[in-house]
Amino acid sequence: MTARRALIGLAAVLLVALPLWVPGNYDISVGSEILIYAIFALSVDLLIGFAGLVSLGHAGLFSLAGYTLAVCLGAGFGQPAAIALALAVALAGTAVFAALSLRTTGVGFIMITLALGQIMWGLAYRWVGLTGGDNGISVSARPAPFGISLAVPSHFYEATLIVFAGAVFAYRVFVESPFGASLRGTRDQPRRMTALGYNVWMIRFSAFMVSGLLAAIAGILFVFRAEFISPPTAALTASAEPVLMAISGGSGTILGPIVGAALVELVKNVASAYISRWNMLLGGTFVVIVMFMPEGLVPGTMRLLRRRFGARPPAPVVAAGTAERKPPP
């Protein structure tokens, strides 16, 4: 436990001091991007890893917050008002997403979230009057809380880190709370949970709302970082990326999606310098991870470590599938 504390402390120091040890502004900006995607991946994994619901439409919520922010700023709203509106609109959108997609679970849920995500993409792309269509919307100003201009990359990075740390802390409390336990129960044995007195639908709906809030926070940070938003932000690829991050890093853990986000973003940035085939790489990684490492990197490594020190492995999340398990008679 103390070793773990020490590692977390070291990671925290390295993260806070990142602007000092990475070479340039571009790399600091990549650091911010990783943190933002880590929040997004955690958002998606709250549903995959803890509720057993795979959403392929979360980019819709991410970009709903982003577009609302951009549109509001463009319309002359102040920063706080624009942020508040972006969160509110994204949460309203999340409620609609959740109400519709929670009509089913399993594969039906995937299909409906995918379709809903495509609606958001379609709106971003076609509703030119509001979204600028293919040209997207530029955002000129980053906020300056307490007079500190976030236009400076290292300032923006530290601000993002604060939000990220808050999100991770809240996430941890959430998944270890009684509500988190209830949520996991609905993932493993929904019918049993109902018989025990739980309102399974409401538990899932609430989790979806929390997930939507995280996606919205990530979307808002994303727009501030890129100072731009356009339809690809809402595309199916953009929904698939956080899913890949979560399952490659290790679904159902906290560290997993963060590590996954870092890996995917680093690969993306490095790869884009050499090849333009990001989709090929993304798709290939998906296939390889699902086929050969369904439990993800973090639990996989943990298992190897634990085997050395003799303790139990955690169960893989993705490989378990959506079927209800029946113990042998």
């Binding site: 392929l56 594969v107 379609g122 076609r126 998906f286 296939v287 699902v290 959506t322």
Partner: protein, 285 residues
């Protein structure tokens, strides 16, 4: 104006039927929403288009070859990827998604970023004017072909042994296995069939839609919506869903162009709220 719009709607519905009938069968039988289905449609269009443009194959021959090629691709995918993940639907879905991304990039690499336009077969170019309305021959032909395919599929499902097995599998996969149907071979056949239909649809659609990067992920949600509307594994459901979506899409494009894509999904939302198992699907047990 309205008549031509109606014809276009039915034509588009016919294309959607070619796309979604296979999707629905695969989904009904294997419970896997094949997220590569839009890619198969696009791949069919590209292969068919290239065969016509570069190899000067006759249109219909090119369509059959393209359909066969895509069917083979589907078979390989089912055998070597999905089969290994049997029992974990979630993993299978993610693999179909991964392959879809790979196909999209592969196509960009091979066929480039410019749309590939394909001419309709010469015999079907132009149109006829009757009762003061212009009927474009090729579009009418697409409608007839979709109807013919629907009839053939229906006859196959209703009259043949293979069809009986597929129906049994859709109704109750467990039971089908128990009574000795070789479900695994059935899966491969149905996956090939669905892929082939999508590929064929892609060639049929090429003269109307042209083939371009992104066609895959433009078509995929339409297949999803049709199946959510029509119910999984239901052929009449696919047909009705396709026509409905064809009308909404085409009329939407003319009447509210900025929101055409949005209103496309409204019937899906309605169906989900009122009848989650789809218009023609059976209630879940």
């Amino acid at each position: 104006m309205w008549t031509i719009l109606a014809i276009n709607s039915v034509t588009f519905g016919g294309l959607l039927f070619l796309l979604s009938a296979g999707f629905s069968l695969i989904f009904g039988l294997m419970r896997v929403p094949n997220l590569t289905h839009g890619s198969m449609f696009m791949l069919g269009g590209y292969i068919g288009g290239s065969l016509i443009a570069s190899w000067h194959l006759p249109f219909w021959l090119a369509a059959l070859v393209a359909a066969a090629a895509v069917a083979a691709f589907g078979g390989v995918m089912e055998r070597f990827l999905l089969r290994r993940l049997a029992g974990s639907v979630l993993a299978q879905v993610l693999v179909t998604l991964g392959v879809a991304f790979m196909v999209s990039d592969f196509s960009l690499m091979v066929w480039g970023g410019d749309p590939l336009s394909v001419d309709a077969p010469r015999a079907l170019a132009g149109g006829t004017r009757a009762l003061g309305v212009f009927f474009p021959t090729y579009r009418i032909a697409v409608i007839l072909i979709a109807v013919a395919v629907a009839a053939i599929l229906w006859a196959m499902l209703d009259r043949t042994r293979l069809g009986a097995m597929i129906r049994a599998g859709v109704d109750d996969p467990e039971m089908a296995r128990v009574v000795g149907i070789r479900v695994s071979r059935l899966f491969t056949i149905v996956f090939c069939l669905g892929a082939g239909l999508a590929g064929f649809g892609g060639v049929m659609g090429a003269p109307i839609l042209s083939v371009y990067p992104g066609l895959d992920f433009a078509m995929l949600p339409l297949a999803l919506v049709v199946v959510i509307l029509g119910g999984a594994g239901s052929l009449p459901g696919s047909l009705v869903g396709s026509i409905v979506i064809g009308f909404i899409y085409n009329f939407g494009l003319v009447m509210v162009p900025q929101l055409a894509y949005f209103i496309l999904f409204l019937p899906m939302v309605l169906v989900l709220v009122l009848r989650p198992q789809g218009l023609f699907g059976r209630a879940a047990p």
